[in-house]
Symmetry: C2
Subunit: 321 residues, 2 copies
């Protein structure tokens, strides 16, 4: 095995000149750095890549909408297409959240599919779903990486426990072992539930991460997107007490109903949400990542000197109507 | 900087012979390995090191008790003593959960202390609280580590983004830079809120981690324990919408009341909970850590080849009455 090396280091190196030029920059928090990003560094997300998932209202009657961004090429495109197909067939309408496992995942789907507490017949899937192979869990390398080792003591000389490299590609966290790249299971990422291999899942059963990044799932399950708004409606749901955090039959009333899931581009223009993400190739993101790895804002006394890829969440924001 | 090297590697090396001797072992999940641990590898937790925190009943009337294990020497002992002092003065009784920031922390304390939404006078602290210095965020090294590099391709050759080493000491996850060790902010760890440096916090304001390990807080805040039961009552609380996830004045009714916090050894014998943890120096823990890093149970197709220290939670269990 060659020595672990983060190309994140190369990214962070971009930040150094700006910091040297302006000492005041040293005191900005990561959020303050992002707030100063020029408009040109924000990239609009195509409405075709956004899903609006409406949950049943909260017990107090308030609305609960979750917005999911689907993953871009070259990752998981077969599953992403299936998810659009399922949404357009209104297949997700009326399914439920069936599993909430603390420090792990919230999972939603047909309560009568692959659920130890199934009580009836599984819902028929729409036609036209693709079947993907396990090879699709990874993709060919997305970037040419600088394989030289960063200078001694530089952020990025420290490693990642799961890949030889970590990096960001088109706004997404990825890991790599050289010949192949893969998206990583950070908090809020959305994955595709499956049965035992060689099943790879259709996209009908989805989950999101609600705890420490379960990176052992990387390369074992397809990731298809991430929650960009409304995460709290899923992460704060009551935990299930059956195996793997499924709600038991006695807890069936805790299942949260999913009223509808729509591709944003299919919504009337007035109801279509718009989001943008901070370019992960720009100068602001480099400064932001550096600040996440070395907090210099007033609360902190000892900068960490590094950051886990999942501790550098890519900034995503709603575009005002 | 010398090459990052996990002494976890040495730990994991212990597991290899057992795996080679018994091919069937390869199919056990981490949980199954722990379930087979001999009784001698489970270590009882002193009642003096357990706190029982009773929250107000859930909206459905059900009981909500959280059990916290306090941290052992040489870490954070001044804060741990303060927490016992505060519990014994019944100071925590009647305080509230004031902050729930998604993918970060749940924080409880006096709603009129250090809260942007304070409405009255802060509650007076009991006498006898110690004042600690920032040097207490770390401790002298707890173990002599094997500094040789593990064999090529062996688990543990990959790094940690935050420390030169990660390891377990007396049942707790730690990181190290050589001369100093420190406990790490994994999911469910309990820390001591503080104001701006040089304030180091008393223990009156506490928080627990409910998302991706915020390791940038390591060495910047005292950690004092971890939740060993009832974590879900905190992690599933509604998120706050003020700055830093504090509940706003309009959300004041979401603050969960803390009815009481007691040191387990002060409770009548019949109400005293008993817990034990799996020795992190034993053979079972080595096999468990190896299985967390290389899942071979049937669901998995590609073992990760490594694991983040926070993805190897130390098994803790309640001892039956």
């Amino acid at each position: 095995m060659t020595r672990p090396l983060l190309s994140l280091a190369a990214l962070l190196a971009l930040a150094a000149p700006a910091l040297a030029q302006d000492e005041e920059e040293a005191a900005l928090s990561p959020g303050e750095i992002v707030a100063q990003a020029p408009a040109a560094e924000w990239i609009g997300i195509a409405p075709e890549d956004l899903l609006v998932m409406t949950l049943a209202p909260a017990p107090d009657g308030s609305e609960r909408k979750v917005v999911i961004q689907l993953m871009p090429a070259p990752f998981s495109q077969g599953w992403v297409e299936n998810i659009r197909t399922l949404a357009r067939a209104h297949w997700y309408d009326g399914i439920t959240v069936n599993r909430v496992q603390d420090n792990y995942v919230v999972q939603w789907g047909d309560p009568n599919y692959d659920n130890p507490e199934a009580e009836g017949q599984a819902k028929a899937l729409p036609e036209g779903l693709k079947v993907m192979s396990e090879a699709g869990y990874t993709a060919p390398v997305t970037k040419i990486r600088i394989r030289e080792r960063p200078p001694e003591g530089h952020v990025g000389t420290r490693g990642d426990a799961y890949g030889d490299w970590t990096d960001f590609h088109a706004g997404w966290p990825i890991a790599s072992n050289g010949p192949r790249d893969w998206p990583v299971h950070c908090y809020g990422m959305v994955g595709v539930g499956r049965n035992m291999s060689p099943d790879t899942g259709t996209g009908a059963e989805l989950y999101t991460v609600i705890g420490q990044a379960p990176r052992h799932l990387d390369r074992n399950i397809a990731l298809a997107g991430r929650i960009v708004e409304g995460m709290e409606y899923l992460s704060s749901l009551p935990r299930g007490h059956g195996d793997l955090g499924f709600y038991t039959a006695e807890e069936a009333d805790k299942r949260t109903a999913i009223v509808s899931v729509r591709v944003a581009s299919d919504l009337p223009e007035g109801e279509r949400p718009a989001f943008e993400y901070l370019s992960t190739d720009g100068e602001t993101f480099a400064r932001y990542a550096d600040a996440r790895a070395n907090r210099r804002d007033p609360f902190f006394i000892t900068p960490a000197g590094g950051a886990d890829i999942c501790n550098i969440p890519v900034p995503v924001r709603r575009v005002a109507d």
